[in-house]
């Protein structure tokens, strides 16, 4: 089931993504609405992270395209922010909490210029928003998982974007952090910003999001939560394994066939 968004901010058009030639996402075609809190849900290996990484231009696309605010990503990058998975970086890196949040200002600064006073103030504001003002000068290796996640969120907030892609922001965080992050997301969507979140917990998904994307290597459903978050749909996402799709993908990898022909 695919329900088109009325006021689309992101459009995936016939998107196929491969890792080492093996297709992991097949023909994704959907639009996501402005001002929504969107949850991307699916089992392990469904390609949830892959989907937002490809939207951020971090992976080569085998076919199709992604349009953001009806334009190519490079033209609207300043309006888009990305929160990578917490485990994707080395938290023993010699830097402080403030320095990490300041990274969110780099795009506005451009090459060669240093963070100004205003940037620092912005970073401090964002840290206060996520409740981390007491940790400004802390070395990042001293943070707990929940605190690391808050710092990443503060860094994204510092970008002052209109569209946010977040990869598993609720993974491995404590209850207080979960509530804090959710409150911030809801505040953002109330301001008309769009937040797209990769999420793996079905139970909380039902409470958190107002638009759901069900994914399992291909798009199962995309639409408002009350229409899409049904037993049938979930069954289709998690239940009946798509063994044929997985097997064909494996064949493509083994034979090293390009997933799209050139002529």
């Amino acid at each position: 089931m695919r329900i088109e968004a009325k006021e689309p901010v992101v459009e995936f058009h016939d998107l196929t993504v491969s890792y080492h030639k093996k297709p992991v996402l097949w023909n994704i075609d959907m639009t996501l609405p402005k001002g929504a809190l969107v949850g991307i849900i699916g089992p392990n290996g469904a390609g949830k992270s892959t989907l937002i990484k490809s939207a951020m231009g971090l992976l080569p696309l085998a076919s199709g395209y992604v349009k953001i605010f009806d334009e190519a990503l490079d033209d609207v990058r300043h309006k888009v922010s990305y929160v990578p998975q917490r485990e994707s970086v080395d938290w023993d890196f010699p830097t402080s909490v403030l320095d990490v949040v300041l990274m969110g200002r780099y795009a506005k600064l451009g090459l060669l210029s240093r963070p100004r006073k205003a940037d620092k103030e912005m970073a401090l504001n964002c840290l206060a928003k996520v409740g981390m003002e007491a940790y400004v000068n802390r070395q990042i290796s001293q943070l707990s998982g929940g605190q690391q996640q808050r710092v990443f969120l503060a860094r994204a907030l510092a970008q002052e974007a209109e569209l946010y892609f977040m990869d598993e922001p609720f993974a491995g965080v404590d209850a207080a952090t979960e509530a804090a992050i959710l409150a911030i997301m809801q505040e953002m969507t109330a301001q008309g910003k769009t937040v797209i979140v990769v999420h793996h917990d079905l139970q909380s998904a039902a409470e958190f999001f107002d638009w759901i994307v069900l994914l399992n290597m291909r798009l199962v459903a995309s639409g408002p939560i009350n229409k899409v978050f049904t037993n049938d749909m979930l069954q289709e996402t998690y239940g009946g394994k798509l063994t044929v799709l997985a097997e064909v993908g494996e064949l493509v990898r083994k034979r090293q066939i390009p997933s799209r022909e050139k002529y």
Partner: protein, 428 residues
């Protein structure tokens, strides 16, 4: 002392050339090396160092001179090609990066040696000294070289300073950098070029074989002392510059001593020392921390057992003998004795006719440990539904780390309970 004064008077212009050259080369390669270190690409420097040799030889063959500018250009080209090949091999084949590095390094170095041997037997009189690239020859630096090296060093330092924030971001979180629109590919290319340039100039001083140490060792040493990339970069440069200076001095004081290997020896010694004595990250500091912790646990356990003994005969202040304590709970005798003496020194215990008894403070401390132990047992069985016979082991550890704030919260949550799950009284 005399030699030291002589050296630092810089009366001999060749001393100036060697010293300034060594310091510049060491410091600038350390600055660039900091970022290869942070990107966890330490071996890349080694690969480049070995791969520049064929370039140097080819440049000599083509131009027939040892003009450092030509040699640098030649070295730069092959060093750079080697990195491009390593990247492509890693990306497009099933060969992993470490294997690719080992392969490319030896192939390029082999070709380099081949060319070098060929040149040496060619009878070209200008070739003497070319082999110094193998092991370095900082002592042979002359004023003319210095201008070229000085320029390269300035280029390296200025570029790193200019792109510092991008280099830092890419080393920390390349995906986010890409998402921000930072030209990650171009910056990677820049860092690669800087590494090659640093290697090319550095090998004049220490040679192909030791060059990797010049890139990585200062960064590794500096990492022990700081948690800030900026400070780390400065520190690496200073440490490396110092070893450059010392290396130049050693070979001045004892002319038989080679400068390059001495530079490497000194920076390695600095790294090794940092490894041991650095605060918090150093081995010694860590083991002191561990020992303090062990002692604290021993002391608390001992005070706790004295409380248990007091509970049994309802006289907490009764003096106890060593054997009595050991019977309650086994401690190795020597450990027990030193812990008892320590607790007496700190005012928690008093000695009476060879036996040991609580002071007021000692009893309070022992009582608190017992309380925390029993509170935690109760918490585990009440809130986490763990069987009462399974909670003791956990409580043995947790009793030592509960803070006063947590203690208050536990008391409130459990409503100041009287008994623990084993029907033992919780003392307040």
């Amino acid at each position: 002392m005399e030699t030291l004064r002589e050296f630092f008077s810089f009366s001999d212009p060749s001393i100036i050339a060697v010293t300034v050259g060594a310091v510049l080369l060491s410091a600038s390669s350390a600055v660039v090396g900091t970022f290869t270190f942070l990107k966890k690409k330490a071996l890349v420097g080694d690969a480049v160092a070995h791969s520049v040799l064929p370039g140097i030889c080819l440049a000599f063959i083509l131009t027939g001179t040892k003009n450092p500018l030509w040699l640098i250009i030649g070295a730069f080209i092959t060093g750079w090609i080697s990195l491009v090949i390593i990247d492509n091999v890693t990306l497009k084949t099933k060969i992993k990066e470490d294997t690719a590095i080992a392969l490319i390094l030896s192939v390029f170095f082999g070709i380099g040696i081949l060319l070098l041997t060929n040149i040496q037997h060619s009878g070209n009189a200008a070739q003497t000294g070319l082999d110094s690239f193998l092991f370095g020859k900082a002592a042979a630096l002359v004023g003319k070289d210095l201008i070229v090296f000085g320029m390269v060093a300035v280029i390296l330092l200025a570029t790193v300073a200019l792109f510092f924030k991008e280099l830092k971001l890419i080393a920390f979180d390349p995906n986010y950098a890409k998402a921000l629109g930072v030209p990650v590919k171009a910056m990677d290319l820049l860092l690669t070029s800087l590494t090659v340039l640093a290697v090319v100039t550095g090998i004049q001083a220490v040679g192909v074989v030791l060059m990797a140490a010049m890139l990585i060792t200062p960064a590794a040493a500096a990492r022990f002392w700081t948690n800030d990339v900026r400070v780390m970069t400065f520190l690496a440069a200073i440490m490396s510059g110092f070893s450059g200076l010392s290396g130049a001095f050693v070979s001045y004081a004892a002319p038989a001593m080679p400068t390059g290997p001495w530079i490497v020896m000194i920076i390695s010694a600095i790294a090794l020392t940092s490894f041991f004595i650095a605060p918090t990250r150093g081995i010694i500091s860590r083991s002191i921390q561990q020992r303090k912790l062990q002692r604290m646990i021993m002391d608390e356990n001992l005070l706790k057992e004295l409380y248990h003994l007091g509970e049994k005969d309802e006289d907490p202040y009764k003096a106890r003998s060593l054997d009595e304590i050991i019977e309650e709970r086994f401690f190795p005798k020597d450990r027990l004795k030193s812990a008892l003496r320590r607790l007496k020194r700190e005012g928690y215990l008093a000695k009476q006719n060879g036996d040991w008894k609580y002071t007021e403070a000692g009893k309070l401390k022992g009582q608190r440990v017992v309380k925390l132990h029993r509170l935690w047992e109760l918490y585990l069985s009440k809130y986490m539904k763990i069987d009462p016979d399974h909670v003791h082991e956990d409580a043995e550890t947790i009793e030592h780390i509960i803070t006063p704030e947590l203690e208050k919260r536990l008391e409130k949550m459990l409503e100041y309970p009287e008994m623990d799950p084993h029907e033992e009284r919780i003392p307040y």
